[in-house]
Amino acid sequence: MTTNALTSKSSTSGRAGDKVFSGAALAAGVLILITLFAVAVFLLIQALPTFLADPAEISGGEGFFAYIWPIVIGTVIAAAIALLIATPIGIGVALFISHFAPRKVAGPLGYLIDLLAAIPSVIYGAWGYMVLAPALVPGYEWLAKNLGFIPLFEGPASQTGKTMLTAGIVLAVMVLPIITSLSREIFLQTPKLHEEAALALGATRWEMITTAVIPFARPGIISAVMLGLGRALGETMAVALVLSTGNLIPSLIKTGNQTIAAEIALNFPEAFGLRLAELIAAGLVLFLITLVVNMIARGIIARHKEFSGAN
């Protein structure tokens, strides 16, 4: 009888560790899928009455689509304003911390930004309601007077400042720390080798950043912006406090507009029956928006995979 010297008898303990770990990893992965699936099923079942009901019974009396699309647009506009403001500032601050600030300043500044992310959203909402909104009123009046011919800034401006633009700015402040701290981590991971390659070719500091740092960090920046977008789309409290809601209007500086998350939060406590189903259906739509946006982002990252530096 031949025995293979390579078959070991004593290594079962090591194997057990491997098995436990792969089992735990698998369980964690499956758990996430189950949770996501359960959320989708819950939303679908609870929202079903909305789609089966007589259109006249839905809020507004013209069916679910007529009810939902203005607040979908409102949600997207609020999130878009937030990202338009927060992305360039966030990337700029992250670059400053990672590549320009002296080390003594960079550390504390980084912690400070991380702390911003830990502030509860209701506090941002209260700040936006009490401080930011009144402070923005003169600015809105100026916009209405001088740029009023653009539909976005059509007057008369809100006298409370509780408008879509204010909500977008508050959301931008909330999203900023997410984009900043994630981008900073990615920028710090840029290989020294590539930075030195750029410098040795005669690049200035800024050119080094555009040739070596930003391209390397691109997928990470997109992920950071997507996470920020997730928060902006789903944010409830801040928008509910800062925005005085109304019908969908193009002007960002008049009272009006509404977002899905705030619509749900404001109406949920008193809702029952069909109204409850409506709100849950709105939640389902928000869920789908987030899903689609994330898939688009993944698509953008995957399209540049060959040049990602991962190979």
Partner: protein, 259 residues
């Protein structure tokens, strides 16, 4: 093209630590000069002072003069960016930009400082630089593919092509073959022999055979012990360094009797 380098009594520091002390050396144009010596003797550090890459490291600074055809690199008002565009550098590990195609890698330095280049000029320069780096035939059909997809030796030649595309006066090489296999190494050594027709080449190497094969002159660096500064021990024609060194330390090192 191809300028001479004269270094006068250069001290190199990392913050307060004196890493290299009192180096004076004259490097002829259109020649290959090799720096040899044990690990940690400061030869790479010294090489990086020749195009002001040393100061990229926090705390890195120098005292003394480095003259490029008589102009002090460390003179008042001299921009390191200008210095580096005239004195190119090839690193120990191949470092093409992973997010750029082969072609864009070659043009990376040319497009810096807001310079514009027409498409036909760019194509001609890419071909000329890649030919100059003996890489054209291997990559001419895949110029739009990422540079990181090439083999290590090809990547290193791509980095050399990128360096010569900006038409520097001097090319510094910091152990350019230490991450490469013998065949790729041979390709780079052949290339160095051709480069010296147009450029001043300075190469740091751990491989004494390589120094003997490629260089006209050799400088031997050494340290007295850890924590002490590195010094230039002997600088002479390569043949003299390897067959008839003046210093005992040089002889011990090149003959392999080094402690």
């Amino acid at each position: 093209m191809a300028k001479r380098i004269d270094v006068n009594d250069l001290n190199v520091y990392y913050s307060k630590f004196l890493a290299v002390e009192g180096v004076s050396i004259n490097i002829e144009p259109k020649s290959v000069t090799a720096f040899i010596g044990p690990s940690g003797c400061g030869k790479s550090t010294f090489l990086r002072t020749l195009n002001r890459m040393h100061e990229v490291i926090p705390g890195g600074r120098v005292e003394g003069q480095v003259l490029l055809d008589g102009d002090d690199l460390y003179g008042a008002g001299v921009d390191p960016v200008t210095v580096r565009s005239q004195i190119g550098m090839v690193f120990q590990r191949p470092n093409p930009f992973p997010t750029m195609s082969i072609k864009d890698n070659v043009l990376a330095g040319v497009k810096l400082n807001g310079k514009k280049i027409s498409k036909s000029d760019a194509d001609a320069l890419v071909e000329k630089s890649l030919r100059g780096a003996n890489l054209w035939n291997e990559v001419k059909d895949r110029l739009d593919k990422p540079g990181s997809g090439l083999s290590g030796g090809q990547q290193q030649r791509l980095c050399i092509a990128r360096t010569i595309a900006v038409k520097p006066d001097v090319i510094l090489m910091d152990e350019p073959c230490s991450a490469l296999d013998p065949i790729s190494t041979l390709a780079i050594e052949d290339l160095i022999n051709e480069l010296k027709n147009d450029y001043t080449v300075v190469i740091v190497t751990h491989n004494m055979q390589q120094a003997a094969r490629v260089s006209d002159k050799t400088a031997f660096f050494n340290i007295a012990g850890t924590g002490k500064p590195g010094k230039l021990i002997e600088y002479n024609d390569t043949a003299a360094i390897f067959s008839n060194p003046e210093q005992k330390a040089t002889e011990d090192y090149v003959s392999g009797r080094f402690g």
